[in-house]
Symmetry: C2
Subunit: 230 residues, 2 copies
Amino acid sequence: MQIVMGLSGGMDSVTLLGLLLEQGYHVHCCLFYYGSKHNKWENKAARKIVDFYRQYDRPITANFVNLAEAMDSFQSNLLQSGGEIPEGHYTEESMHQTVVPSRNLIMASIMAGMAESIGAQKIALGVHSGDHFIYPDCRTEFVKALDTTIFLSSDKQVEVITPLSNYDKTSILTAGYSCDPQVPYYLTRTCYKDQELSCGKCGSCTERLQAFRSIGKKDPIPYEMPLGVM
Amino acid sequence: MQIVMGLSGGMDSVTLLGLLLEQGYHVHCCLFYYGSKHNKWENKAARKIVDFYRQYDRPITANFVNLAEAMDSFQSNLLQSGGEIPEGHYTEESMHQTVVPSRNLIMASIMAGMAESIGAQKIALGVHSGDHFIYPDCRTEFVKALDTTIFLSSDKQVEVITPLSNYDKTSILTAGYSCDPQVPYYLTRTCYKDQELSCGKCGSCTERLQAFRSIGKKDPIPYEMPLGVM
């Protein structure tokens, strides 16, 4: 059975991919480029992850989806056109600066069109219980409305599933390390900054590091400064 | 008050634009390019329509939204990658070949993101009572679900309106000719084929010509063959 998902290259989506492959799906991954500062690094990570699963002969296909031109007038500090990425633990204000209007809705719409085109009957979203309430397009009521909309838009062909909805960052990592092969977190990319080495300081890095600490493992990716210093 | 809409360059969207301007909106038009055969001709028409209203000093802004790369794997005979455009009055089968999966959902999602980015609280869709039931993304239940989804996705900032929902093609033309200035139908483009002159034979041309006949006016655009022959 085929399924379509967005593979950002971060720890949530790669875990979603690992779990879907374990469940026997043929997974079609959309690699979105929408002009965020960290997007090219995310896409690089995502390509490596696709290659990783191909080496294990897992049923995986992928396509690159360029939305940068379509979204180049959008306002967000996450985008290349926006201001600085805030550092440290998220506050409501700092996180609000990283909201990209309609992002999940746009990506899900493209995935739904892709699903119809290849004859897949499901798309999977990586929303999880650790998503912050400030992101309206991660909330349960949004996902429910989106599922209805996509179901109707596709003439009842495509539905939305959210396998991680009861997982937080800790249980996501636990689930990923239980997969066979283990989810390759060493290939993932979480940092919001436009630089090769992850900063370890933005809200996104801060949460990732906390998740690895919570399962008693060292985050396997390199950071700009030694982990002990952060 | 600002509003965002998609200006395809066809008779429905240009009438929607004319009516919104009459109602005092500052209208932001998205000109979508998604790789359909007739898209470049539509976009040309849409640009001329924007220029037309600017000459009348109407409050109108526009941006070009390139989705062709994002949708290049989609399956539809309407797309450059697809088969032949069917001719003659629509049948269920011929019309089904012209469905582009998720098209309205993707466009509305981009419009919603644009609305949030410029501080507009509404997006307008040109769906009307003459839309065919075979297009699932024109049906009332879809539009209602989409409105809910966009409202939630935008944290209750953006709503969807459909000013033409009670209009058919005939009343659309009647309304457009009653605007001041009259809606410039001579600048519009409806044909689904990839050629400068409209064919007058595809399902889309056939319906347009029928609408002009129904109000007793000659369609002001040139066709490939004299109207009497068709």
